[in-house]
């Protein structure tokens, strides 16, 4: 009996292939976006894990130069002779075969200080240290470099891309830095009777593994943002699934009653339909995982570039198949089906045998439910408002919770608001067609609500994210103009060279601004202190968040310090409060914005800097000069003082590079935005297609009463456009609220800076236009089908009455 019942039940899909396609496609799309993002996240995290495993000294205490520069080999030798267990590391970037790579030079003989240079184990140590030596690299990096550089490159799966590891002597030769080291890794166990560091190597300080340097932690917020977007896209996709399952269940109600009447138990019927849903979930899940792989493969290069550019995190461009996200994708597909189909199954389980299909009564119940829905929406929006206000400083969890509450509340509020607008339209309508149009739109609302809610979410996400990105871009561009006050930046590499080049600089530059940055503890947090000369270009342009009179005079006279916004948020500091820089307290004169820098930073005047860090010498300069003189200066500095091209950078190049990184950062977000909007478009199309067949009995009498099919088709098109327009208008405040939460709460919690919100009304109009066009495109097919529907189809409506 069950087989016969199953055959009858599942014959529905054979008769309604479009609906079956809708269901599978909706679930597959939802799963695809989710899986795609999870695949990207998994690949990136695997890259971090590889990087951390190989470059394990990042997680150990190191000794670094106080001035942020290099460590002479002589200092290392002195430490070793004194009994300090340290291992030298030389790190630098260079171009090999046209590719910028990071070279990491290690001394494997320093073990057990560096026990985890894992990839080097297989070939033994001799070929690694002996001439000609070896370089280890990730497969894709090795494939590009092998043959193009000497010595031999050995493939290691454990290495991040664009990183090469070699013996320290070999790397020193490749980098052209034979006598300097980048840092010294400190072995965990040291003898107790060692001479103190400040006596034996006063130019060095200990650098603990700072939380800020942990790649996974640093990039967590980026991945969280991607996951939030994927969750949103998944939710939008589920609207399609819910709509398709709901309609299929409604259409099969008479069949359920018949099957029940013929002796099939409610339990058996529910079981058969659950089995059907399981099959759909697995089919759509597999399809979704395959599509997700495609999406991830397409987006991963941009994500990898973003992670490398913005966070310095090594990430691969190529995607591997990982059982984790494949299983997670299938699980999400199942979960989504349960969420989307659970209600229908429950209703079916409780369906009395004699219950009538009563679609109109269902609609009336929907209308009654609008009040409850509106109330729930109000509560959720209130909760969202409260959540944004409760945590100070903003907490990432509460910020995302408020985002979720707001989006869900707004989606639930849409149908009651649209119903109100359509009722107003009905009241104001003149003429029978207009009156019917508005009244009929009200009646169609329950069937279209889910698709419109999906559209609202997609539009709000678009408005919110584009406002955030636009605000970020405007602020960032302005901030770059403010921060990059010098025309040319010189990094001499060492204090000696810095002194040597000074006469040459004086001949060309109209002003020379010495730049020194040193590692320090700021209110207990590891960070950096920067010297800022008393120059009008800083006074005029520095991006102070709370400009006040006397700030620059105070800084020049050593009466206080400036701190970046990150430090202010992290330590809850405000102007006037004291900030401690390596134990010395100074009053805060002002706070400045410092986008893109995850670390705490403070700025002091020349006198204060000299007092706090007397042994730091200038190595870098900012120059005011005529950019036309740069080529000559470059030739002079490279020729006479051996400076490399990357040590002389003009302002335009820095700006261009920064903006390139910036644009890359949001490529993925933009792509996800478009995909989410696309899913919403599909949701509208599928809803309209499934409604189209149900609407025939409502449309046919109008045709019989004298309205042409073409006119009815046009009205269907108009209805989709009007509903999309209303939805777009209602999405605007939701999108702006979303942007505000992203800018004022999520960004602050994730990065420590708050961005001013900039509005782009032109973009809203464009997006509204796109939404209407998308809805018209989605409605075009069903409308055309109606306009060209054979009279015989419409006549069936009357004929089937007998």
């Amino acid at each position: 009996m069950k087989r016969a019942a199953a055959h009858a039940l599942w014959s529905h899909w054979r008769r309604h292939p479009g609906q079956a396609l809708t269901l599978v496609l909706g679930l597959a799309l939802a799963t695809a976006l989710w899986t795609g993002v999870q695949a990207i996240n998994a690949e990136a995290r695997a890259s971090y894990a590889r990087a951390t495993a190989v470059l394990t000294q990042d997680a150990q205490t190191t000794l670094i130069a106080r001035d942020g520069g290099t460590i002479p080999v002589a200092t290392y030798v002195r430490l070793r002779r004194a009994g300090w267990q340290v291992a030298p590391v030389l790190e630098g970037t260079t171009r090999l075969a046209g590719r910028t790579v990071t070279l990491l030079g290690l001394d494997p003989l320093s073990g057990p200080v560096l026990p985890q240079t894992a990839p080097l184990g297989s070939g033994g140590i001799a070929p690694f240290i002996g001439p000609p030596g070896q370089l280890y690299a990730a497969p894709d990096t090795a494939a590009q470099l092998n043959g193009a550089v000497q010595p031999e490159i050995v493939v290691s799966d454990d290495l991040p891309p664009d990183h090469l590891i070699g013996d320290i002597a070999l790397v020193a030769r490749l980098l052209g830095r034979p006598d300097h080291l980048t840092r010294l890794v400190l072995a965990p166990a040291q003898a107790t009777d060692l001479p103190p560091l400040d006596q034996i190597a006063p130019a060095l300080i200990r650098a603990d593994p700072a939380p800020g340097s942990d790649l996974a932690g640093l990039t967590d917020s980026f991945h969280l943002n991607l996951t939030a977007f994927a969750a949103l896209a998944f939710a939008v996709g589920l609207f399609i699934v819910h709509s398709a399952i709901g309609l299929a269940f409604e259409q099969r109600r008479p069949m359920y009653r018949t099957l029940r009447a013929l002796g099939l138990s409610a339990r058996a019927l529910t079981g058969l339909l659950a089995l059907e849903l399981l099959a759909v979930a697995l089919m759509a899940g597999l399809l979704g995982v395959a599509m997700g792989y495609g999406i991830a493969a397409a987006l991963l290069p941009d994500v990898a570039a973003t992670l490398r550019g913005l966070y310095g995190a090594p990430a691969r461009d190529s995607l591997g198949l990982r059982p984790g996200w494949i299983a997670a994708g299938l699980l999400m597909s199942l979960l989504g089906t349960v969420v989307a189909g659970g209600q229908a199954l429950w209703r079916l389980h409780r369906l009395p045998i004699l219950a009538s299909a009563a679609p109109r009564a269902w609609r009336r119940a929907s209308t009654k439910g609008l009040g409850w829905q509106g109330g729930l929406a109000g509560l959720l929006l209130l909760a969202a408002g409260l959540l944004t206000q409760t945590a100070a400083p903003p907490h990432l969890g509460s910020a995302f919770a408020s985002l979720a509450a707001m989006m869900l509340g707004a989606a639930l509020a849409l149908p009651p608001l649209l119903a109100g607008l359509l009722a107003l339209g009905t009241r104001l309508a003149r003429g029978p067609v207009a009156q019917w149009f508005w009244a009929d739109s009200q009646q169609q609302l329950p069937g279209l609500s889910l698709a419109l809610m999906a559209l609202l979410l997609a539009l709000a996400a678009n408005i919110g994210v584009s406002t955030m990105v636009g605000s970020f871009r405007t602020t960032f561009t302005g901030w770059l103009d403010q921060r990059l006050v010098a025309d040319v930046y010189i990094d001499a590499g060492s204090p000696e060279t810095a002194q040597a080049v000074l006469p040459a600089l004086r001949q060309t530059a109209t002003a020379i601004l010495p730049r020194i940055t040193t590692e320090a503890r700021l209110n207990g947090h590891p960070g950096e202190v920067q010297l800022l000369s008393d120059d009008h270009s800083y006074r005029d342009h520095w991006p102070l968040l709370s400009p006040a009179a006397g700030v620059w005079e105070g800084l020049a006279e050593g009466r206080g310090a400036l701190i970046n916004e990150q430090l202010a948020y992290r330590s809850g500091l405000a102007p006037g409060d004291p900030v401690t820089l390596d134990g010395t307290a100074l009053p805060i004169l002002a706070i400045y914005s410092d986008y893109g820098n995850p670390r705490p930073q403070a700025i002091v005047g020349a006198a204060t800097f000299a007092a706090l860090f007397p042994d730091r010498a200038v190595q870098r300069y900012g120059l005011h000069m005529d950019p036309e003189d740069l080529p000559a200066l470059r030739l002079d500095l490279e020729g006479r003082f051996g400076l490399r091209p990357d040590q002389i950078i003009d302002q335009a190049s820095i700006k261009a590079a920064s903006l390139r990184v910036f644009e890359q950062t949001f490529t993925v977000t933009a792509a996800l935005n478009v995909l989410t909007l696309g899913v919403a478009g599909v949701a509208i199309l599928t809803s309209l297609l499934t409604l189209a067949s149900l609407r025939l009995p409502q449309i046919a009498p109008l045709w019989a009463l004298g309205m042409t099919r073409a006119r009815l088709g046009q009205l269907e098109l108009l209805r989709a456009g009007v509903l999309a327009l209303f939805t777009a208008i209602l999405a605007l405040p939701v999108g702006l609220a979303l942007a505000w939460i992203l800018l004022a709460r999520v960004n602050v919690a994730a990065f420590g800076w708050r961005l001013p919100m900039v509005l782009f009304p032109g973009d809203w109009a464009l997006l509204g236009g796109i939404a209407v066009l998308a809805a018209l495109a989605a409605a075009a097919w069903p409308a055309r089908r109606l306009a060209t529907r054979p009279a015989a189809d419409l006549l069936k409506v009357f004929a089937s009455e007998r």
Binding site: D440, A700, A704, M707, E801
Partner: protein, 221 residues
């Protein structure tokens, strides 16, 4: 002559899996004058409803002529046929086919307004005579079957059509209600001066109309 049907034929192509085409109407001819009422009877599948849909311009005959108020509608385009239905025809269906999103008042006025000849006074009279004046703000789903059919009759007659076509208008109603509905319909049709062509299975109801004709296997008896 209000309606003149001459030598009308209609054949439907063979259904999938069958060989024979269905000859639904074969040379049907009939006439109807203004103010006249004609009952069309016949067994199921005899072609009654097809004849109605052809006269209403909802479908096209294979051959023959349909003249309404002297104009042959056979070659008219869809737009012209739709205009004719709005202005000259009042259609009443078995299933009422009211517009569920509009209340009774709007449903009653709908076709008249569509035809551009809405007369509030006449519509009020129609509503009052149909006993609907207390239900004008209700929606179709809130009415009984008899009430819904009265709204459908009112909708057709409020537009003052020249020709009323009623396809089994009481097929969904019990006998007593059907009698009341037919009484009201006949009263209003006669008062408005329209012609009425009504398809029915019921000989009893057919007998109440001025004339009756029987259709069997696509031919008039």
């Amino acid at each position: 002559m209000l309606l003149q049907v001459q030598s009308l034929t209609k054949t439907y192509p063979a259904a999938p899996g069958t060989d024979a085409a269905r000859h639904v109407l074969s040379g049907v001819s009939l006439t109807l004058d203004a103010g006249e009422t004609l009952a069309l009877t016949g067994e199921s599948g005899s072609g009654k409803s097809t004849l109605m849909t052809l006269i209403a311009g909802l479908d096209r005959p294979d051959s023959g002529q349909i003249r309404i108020e002297g104009a042959d509608i056979a070659g008219w385009p869809d737009r012209r046929l739709a205009q004719m239905r709005r202005r000259q025809i009042g259609l009443i269906f078995q299933q009422f086919n009211l517009i569920p999103s509009l209340d009774v008042a709007a449903n009653l006025a709908f076709q008249a307004r569509l035809a551009g000849r809405f007369d509030q006074g006449w519509t009020a009279i129609v509503a009052q005579r149909l006993g609907l004046d207390g239900h004008l703000s209700l929606y179709p789903e809130q009415l009984s079957g008899g009430q819904q059919q009265r709204v459908a009759i009112g909708r057709a007659l409020a537009a003052r059509p020249a020709l009323v076509l009623a396809d089994e208008p009481t097929g969904n109603l019990d006998e007593a209600t059907a009698d009341r509905v037919i009484d009201l319909m006949l009263e209003l049709v006669i008062d408005s001066g329209a012609g009425l062509l009504m398809v029915t299975h019921s000989s009893r109801l057919a007998a109440r109309l001025g004339r009756r004709t029987h259709l069997s296997h696509g031919r008039l008896a």
